[in-house]
Every structure is written in structure tokens, then in C-alpha cells.
Amino acid sequence: MSEIIDTASKDIKLFIDEPLRQFAYQAVDFFLKENDAVKTNQLQSIPGVISGGGLAALKKMVDSQREKNSKAKNKAFWNFLHQHLFVSEMQKDTAYSFHHFLRKQSFIQPHLKYTTTAANKKQRSQMNKQNKNTIDNVMDQLLSVYFEHFNCHYFYQTQGAA
């Protein structure tokens, strides 16, 4: 997968440092407000999986946990991550969709195709697909640092829940 954004550029570094961090914190707070906290060991394997295989490997793990995890509250956590990371912005509630969040960022705008310019339905569908691939690509680049923010805030908010 070719890289779309330059993560070493200053504006992306600032984006990683602030909006991405705030979004990760909000996602954790949202999960904890709506669900029981899971033990921190559920989250500890995430960074390793991302560094080993990126977005594809994380998706595989999330799907596997959703299917096989026997505890209801763990299942709820993995279902949340699935919704948060892998369900595109077409769903009704976009507030905690990572896709939707990335799509709004100024550094992504030049790489997106605007469907209003499509000549027909087929072209619009192709554009949507290309946009999804673009955002997946950017997400893959940012995933590791995103989960640094996500996990540290989760550990902080659930102190002593190890």
C-alpha cells in the first residue's frame, strides 16, 4: 500500500499530537460511558498486532475476538472497536467513526474524489470505493500512534482495572 500522507511533516505531526489524541480520548470516554470496562489485557495485544500487520491484521483480530471471545463485556468492547474503526461513514451515527473523523481533515481533502462530480451512478460508486481505500490507507499509517493515545487514556480512566 503506497503512503498517502507524510507522517514526518509538521502539520501531520501537529494533527497526531492534538486532534487525533482528542478523538482517541473521546472514543475511550464514549465506550466507558456506554459499557462496562474490560480488563486492560484486552487492549495490550493491539499495538503488537498493528506493528506486525497494520490495519488488515487488526481487523482480523477484532473480527476473531468478536466471534470467539466468551465474555459478554469483552465482546461488547470488540464490537465497539469494529464499529469505531471498520464501519464506514455511511452508518447513521458518525460521531465516533474513525473514517468520518479522517474524512473531515484538511490534509485528506486533496486526495478525495467528490461524488457530486460523478457523471453517473457507476462512477459515483467507484469514487466512493476509491475514497474508502484512501481513508483506509491513511488510517493504516496513523493506527499505531492512534492506539498509543487510545490505550494510555483507557488505562488512565480505568486505573486499577488490570
Binding site: 509538521k10 502539520d11 505531526k13 492534538e18 484538511s106 467528490y114 498509543e148 487514556h153 488512565y156 480505568t158
Partner: protein
């Protein structure tokens, strides 16, 4: 070794940083202040290696958020009965948050680029949602989006230099704060040992 300098700051900005740190010292770090985190670290019995570890991380970090995440991680993994980082973390995160806001005040960053970006998203959304006026939108939206993209592109150069400045100011402020904390930590420790004799 990673380069943790983002941009060379001008003399005026460096002066603003120093003035702010001086004010912060007077506010929180003169004798007896309750927000003196060095003193609090000494009182909770936080080990010297922990304090030095935090200092070292702050000086070598390439991101401000690495410092905040480190503190959250330390507090998060601490056992309940120990309660050192748990007491320190909220105040420290709060003080770091103040530094982050100050960085924007010092640089006076222009928020226009984010607004332009939101405008593109909004136009695209409206154009898709307003089914009864598809023909009108198909004429207006592409032109409007093109103009907004041009405006973003014009702002991008300024944004990059602002971003680099904000990052550098934040890191300098954090390093300044950490120097105060470490000095006060060792001073409080020495006071404790004198009182204990």
C-alpha cells in the same frame, strides 16, 4: 538519535516563552504552593528514577502527547495501594494542558484552514442529501469545492510553518515546566531529610 527540534524560533517568541514560564513559576512553584508538583512528587514518595525518567522523556520526545500518554500510562498501571502517580497525574496533565493552550496564544494560529475543510465536507454532504435539487447542486458544488480547495492550498504553506512553531513552543514549555518540577522535587526531598533528622 531522533531530531526533536521542529523549527528555530525567533527572539520574540523565545522571550514570550520565558515570560510565561516565569509567571508559571510564581503561580505554582514558589515555596508552599499547593500546585508545586515537585513538592507533591517528593511527598508521595515517588522515586528519583521515576522523576528522572519523566524528565528524560520530556527532553527526548518528538511529540508533546508522548509526555501526556506516558503520565497516563504510569498512573493507569499503578497498583491502587501505591497511589503516587494517581495523585500526581491529574495535576500534571492539567498543567501540561495549560501549556498547550499557551502555545497557541504565543503563535496566534489561524483556524481558517479547518473551517475551509469543514465547508467542503458540508457542501458535499448537502449536495448528496438534497435530492430535489440535484441538478442545481451538480452545477454549483464542483465549482464551490474547487474554490475551497484552492483556498486550502493557499493556506497550507502558512499552516505548515504555524504547526511547526506550535509543536516547538509546546515542547519548550514542557521542558521548562519539567526543569521546575525536578528542581523542586530534589529541594523538597532535601527539606524532608533535614526535618527528619
Amino acid at each position: 538519535m531522533q531530531d526533536n527540534t521542529f523549527v528555530k524560533l525567533d527572539d520574540e517568541t523565545l522571550k514570550k516563552i520565558d515570560v510565561y514560564l516565569e509567571k508559571l513559576y510564581e503561580k505554582n512553584y514558589t515555596t508552599g504552593k499547593e500546585n508545586n508538583l515537585g513538592k507533591l512528587m517528593a511527598e508521595t514518595g515517588l522515586g528519583s528514577s521515576q522523576v528522572r525518567g519523566l524528565e528524560q522523556l520530556t527532553f527526548s520526545s518528538t511529540r508533546f502527547s508522548q509526555v501526556i500518554n506516558y503520565i497516563k500510562n504510569q498512573a493507569g498501571k499503578e497498583k491502587k495501594e501505591k497511589s503516587q502517580w494517581t495523585k500526581i497525574a491529574p495535576k500534571l496533565i492539567n498543567q501540561l494542558g495549560e501549556l498547550e493552550q499557551e502555545a497557541y496564544i504565543i503563535v496566534n494560529k489561524d483556524p481558517a484552514i479547518d473551517l475551509l475543510s469543514q465547508a467542503i465536507d458540508h457542501v458535499n454532504h448537502q449536495a448528496e442529501a438534497d435530492k430535489s435539487n440535484q441538478e442545481k447542486w451538480s452545477k454549483i458544488a464542483p465549482r464551490l469545492i474547487k474554490r475551497l480547495k484552492e483556498a486550502i492550498s493557499l493556506s497550507n504553506d502558512k499552516e505548515s510553518s504555524d504547526a511547526a512553531t506550535v509543536l516547538e513552543i509546546k515542547m519548550r514549555l514542557a521542558r521548562g515546566l519539567m526543569k521546575m518540577i525536578v528542581a523542586n522535587y530534589y529541594y523538597s526531598q532535601s527539606q524532608q531529610s533535614i526535618e527528619g533528622e
